[in-house]
């Protein structure tokens, strides 16, 4: 068969992660290959072109555009100060002058004779990008940014809201099946990445935000609680820019779903360690999923952090299902259940909807063996 792979979410105690840190416009890179960087290290800087302010000369002077010739006192490309004279007409006998002055400092970018409008480009706005994750610079993208390589634990969630944050991991629930309730939000969770179990409600989220937690990582949330947290209903699944007090990462999905034991155990082992988290999610082919990165204590510059040390999964080998592959069901009626592939019947099978599809037999953790469409499982990647 052609390459039919089942993508899964990565949950690894030791992975090499490359994060591309790119400026929106060309600028200056401030670090070099091999430099050790901290999450807040500024790695590149640029200047965004300032806003272009349109001055409606003809309109302000009460004239038609073609009558303005000779009245404009500046030329394209000229720098102007705030208040500087841009255009002037004299009335009868030199009296009743009408003047238009520059509303701001900048450079005259254009003057359109058709409209009688003039554009002043304001001073550039400086922007900086930081390293986001502790690691080493593995590649410099000339004038654009860098690639930072980090070695450590790497956990992908399924969905998140809120952007990049940093904080120490703090386990708030004793088991992955526990609900993260308000009484489980510690007093001293400011700046921490709180790890819950199966569910978090709006009250607990608000309490964590009130206590200045950096992020909450949990198995699931109810749709109505997410709406309450965001203040609106989510439409298209492109997130990361929400104006929310803390980043929320779901590892399993919507509803009360115990966090996968493997994920929870790994996070528990990372208690107290510094993490970089990002809730940004884009669900498309080649999806962007939310992430938790916990770099190892020492930045091992010589242990494979060079460019290309973690390439894309090779076509035809990554994510292939086989007997014994650990999987999770991702749709009803077995949604959230864990198990392993028991068997992969080659022939398509008629399922409950009447559709004839390729299935697999899944051995659940309670020992039952059930039939599930292959499209409805994901591999638990290591």
């Amino acid at each position: 068969m052609g390459t039919a792979y089942t993508p899964g979410l990565k949950v690894s105690p030791d992975a090499i992660v490359h994060k591309t840190r790119r400026l929106p416009v060309k600028g200056t890179v401030l670090v070099k290959v091999g430099d050790v960087v901290q999450p807040d290290t500024v790695v590149a800087r640029a200047e965004l072109p300032g806003d272009l302010e349109t001055v409606r000369l003809a309109e302000r002077m009460g004239m038609d555009a073609d009558e303005l010739q000779g009245s404009v006192k500046i030329s394209v490309g000229q720098k102007v100060e705030k208040g500087q004279l841009l255009a002037e007409v004299k009335g009868f006998f030199g009296f009743f002058r009408t003047q238009v002055n520059a509303p701001s400092q900048g450079t005259v970018e254009y003057y359109a004779e058709v409209t009688g409008n003039l554009g002043i480009r304001k001073a550039p706005v400086p922007i900086e990008i930081n390293a986001y994750v502790r690691g080493a610079v593995s590649e410099v993208l000339a004038g654009e940014g860098v690639i930072v390589a980090a070695r450590g634990a790497f956990i992908q969630g399924i969905f998140g809201v809120g952007g990049e944050r940093q904080g120490d991991i703090l386990i708030a629930c004793a088991s992955p099946a526990d609900v993260l309730t308000t009484d489980r939000i510690p007093q001293d969770c400011a700046g921490k990445v709180l790890v819950g179990g199966s569910l978090v409600g709006i009250d607990a989220l608000n309490k964590a935000a009130e206590r200045k937690a950096a992020a909450v990582v949990v198995g699931g949330i109810l749709n109505q609680d997410l709406r309450a947290y965001l203040g609106y209903d989510l439409g298209v699944a492109i997130t990361g820019d929400e104006n929310v007090p803390l980043t929320l990462i779901l590892t399993e999905g919507f509803g009360a779903i115990p966090m996968a034991e493997r994920t929870f155990s790994l996070l528990r082992a990372l208690q107290g360690r510094g993490a970089s988290v990002n809730g940004a999610t884009q669900i498309r082919a080649g999806a962007m999923r939310p992430e938790i990165i916990v770099p190892h204590a020492a930045v091992a510059q010589s242990s494979g952090l060079g460019p290309g040390s973690e390439g894309p999964p090779a076509s035809g080998t990554a994510g292939l299902l086989a007997a014994g592959t650990p999987i999770r069901a991702i749709r009803e009626p077995y949604f959230g259940q864990l198990g392993e592939v028991a068997d992969l019947p080659p022939e398509p099978v008629r399922i409950g909807t009447g559709a004839v599809v390729r299935v697999l037999r899944m051995k659940l953790t309670d020992g039952r063996v059930v039939e599930v469409p292959r499209a409805n499982v994901e591999i638990i990647e290591r």
Binding site: T281, I330, P373
Partner: protein, 607 residues
């Protein structure tokens, strides 16, 4: 390279969609052109692969395995090299492709007046297969800085700038160019690429606009899309958009240089190819026609009415990536109203959110499938509403009116779509093409499009209209032959009377069917009745209205006699009225949905 249709015997076509790349083999058999094998694989335009040809190769490999024919040169693995020409066991004669990967062609358009030049610009872009991200106009009630912020936020592939008839307004057009300059938007692909801007406005200010923009953008001028108020001239702008899409945008998308090099025929956007087939089907039959493609991210609607072709795309209405947006736009109550069982809206919303975050999953049990089909009804309904708002005559045109026109209150900008004139509706996309029971697809189309009069309902068997659309640019007759034989699956014929002031349960019409399974009876107001009329069969249908307001297409109270075509759902008599109004009480709604599904022979969930 010139391709001679008479030399073709085996043609391979791919469609690189946003989720899946589909490869299809067309073969010339003794009995005619046929579609023979199909393979598919995930699209690989985005990370981690970032090379569209990997997915295409995987899909083609599946066709090779199924057909037992070697198609790709095994010695070349880093690009698509085909064995040509076709031999007995190896090779093909031609490779063609369409693409909507990476989100398809995304455009921002601008015009002076929203309902005139801006609307023409929108139609030009949509007809060229684009997703229109925003329509800017001088009268769009946004302040200049708001327009600038919006343009900056969007990252279109192409901007279409129009405005003013030739000899008309100058200032407003140049102001739009100034706004564009101030925003300085960046293209999605190719960081070194200058964003292409196609100018199709008042020719008198083309020079002034060019002077403003040529340093910052990839600028080109084409004839005005609205040279005079009474006429649209969309062709040159559409041609320029195709050209720019191929030469600038796609060549910067990952792997497309190799895809373009693999075919002697220009790659076209998927919706454009579907539009070509829809337009040709309507032209050959001489009918008004609707077609819809409901995908994971977007829903495209095509209409050919009174020979005018229109296409719209609802960019955020779809069954997987965009399913939450359907929920948002339609509202949970509107989705739940199509369910034949009581449901907790919060549970349904949770299920749909989970579909959004795991978009490739499929329903495993019946109730889950029915929820998806309810969402599809709302996505289709909203997409069709959007289409009707754009498939209109030109606005702002002065018309000579007679006294009768004045009394009839006719206005410019009327919808071109008269449902009684629409003779065929073609559905496409997974939820329709791959519905486990094709009768369910018929009911979805009936509920969401609300056809009137007598209409044939079809689905695209395996979503091959894009492949046929691009193939038809080389061999239109072969493409049509495959379209009729292998692509169109007839669901049957719907008969939907329009009426008023008829009480529920009262007789609407008497019908008589003469054919393989003769039948006669009375359709009551509010009823939905289905009769077997097998695929490939036809029958004579006679209808006699029982009320003077009942109109089945010939006019109120007029009898109709027609030959009707059968299909998977047979003959469907829909006496529910137009517009279709569902009962207000939840219990009655559930009962009505149950009745309708039972009428169509559809299985109901046990719980």
């Amino acid at each position: 390279m010139t391709v001679r249709p008479e030399d073709l015997r085996l043609v391979l076509a791919t469609d690189c969609g946003s989720t899946t790349t589909k490869a299809i083999l067309f073969e010339k058999k003794p009995e005619g052109w046929r579609q023979t094998f199909r393979g598919e694989a995930p699209t690989t335009v985005e990370a981690p692969f970032e090379d569209v040809t990997i997915g295409a190769r995987n899909a083609i490999t599946e066709v090779e395995e199924l057909s037992g024919r070697r198609i790709l040169d095994p010695a070349v693995t880093d690009t698509l090299k085909f064995l040509t020409p076709a031999g007995d066991k190896d090779g093909i004669d031609l490779y063609v492709s369409t693409s909507s990967a990476g989100g398809g062609l995304q455009m921002t358009v601008a015009g002076v007046v929203r309902t005139m030049t801006a609307e023409s610009a929108e139609r030009a872009a949509l007809g060229a297969g684009a997703i229109v991200m925003d329509v800017l106009s001088v009268d769009d009630r946004r302040k200049p800085h708001e327009r600038i912020a919006r343009i900056r936020h969007l990252r279109p592939d192409i901007v279409l700038l129009s405005g003013g008839i030739d000899g008309g307004t100058r200032e407003h057009v140049v102001e739009l160019a100034e706004t564009l300059l101030a925003a300085d938007p960046k293209p999605r692909f190719g960081r070194t690429l200058r964003l292409p801007v196609v100018y199709a406005g008042n020719k008198d200010v083309a020079g002034a606009v060019e002077a403003l923009l040529k340093e910052h953008f990839g600028f080109q001028v084409v004839p005005n899309i609205r040279p005079v108020l009474e006429r649209e001239n969309l062709g040159p702008a559409r041609a320029a958009i195709h050209e720019v899409f191929l030469t600038h945008v796609m060549s910067h998308a990952p792997g497309y240089d190799k895809l373009i090099a693999a075919s002697p025929v220009p790659i076209i956007s998927t919706p454009h190819a579907v539009g070509v087939m829809a337009e040709e089907a309507a032209r050959r039959r001489g009918i008004d026609l609707l077609a819809v493609d409901i995908g994971g991210a977007t829903t495209d609607v095509f209409s050919v009415c009174k020979t005018v072709f229109n296409r719209t795309v609802s960019a955020n209405l779809g069954m997987s990536y965009s399913v939450s947006n359907v929920l948002l736009e339609a509202g949970i109550d509107n989705i739940c109203r199509w369910l034949p069982f009581p449901a907790d809206p919060n549970v349904i919303q949770g299920c749909l959110r989970n579909k959004m975050i795991r978009p490739t999953t499929i329903p495993q049990d019946l109730s889950d499938l029915i929820v998806e089909q309810a969402v599809a009804r709302e996505a289709l309904r909203l997409a069709f509403l959007h289409h009707r708002s754009l498939a209109v005559g030109l606005k702002g045109v002065q018309q000579e009116r007679t006294i009768s026109d004045a009394f009839a209150q006719t206005a410019t900008g009327e919808s071109l779509i008269n449902m009684k004139d629409v003779s065929m509706i073609i559905g496409s996309g997974g939820v329709l093409s791959h519905a486990p029971d094709r009768r369910a697809a018929a009911l979805m189309i009936l509920d969401s499009f609300e056809p009137e009069g007598i209409t044939e309902l079809c689905v695209d068997s395996i979503f091959m209209m894009p492949h046929l659309g691009v193939f038809s640019s080389v061999h239109p007759d072969a493409a049509q032959e495959i379209f009729e034989h292998d692509c169109l699956v007839y669901l049957g014929t719907s008969v939907c009377p329009v009426f008023r002031k008829v009480k529920p349960g009262a007789p609407l019409l008497a019908y008589k069917l003469e054919g393989p399974s003769p039948a006669a009876g009375t359709l009551l107001c509010g009823a939905l009745v289905r009769m077997e009329l097998p695929l490939g069969a036809s029958a004579k249908l006679t209808i006699e209205p029982a009320h003077r307001s009942v109109d089945v297409g010939a006019g109120p109270g007029k009898p109709v006699e027609r030959t009707v075509r059968g299909g998977h759902a047979g003959l469907m008599l829909d006496g529910r009225g137009r517009p279709l109004v569902l009962p207000k009480s939840a219990a009655e709604r559930v009962a009505a949905n149950k009745r309708w599904m039972e009428a169509f022979g559809l299985e109901l969930p046990e719980k």
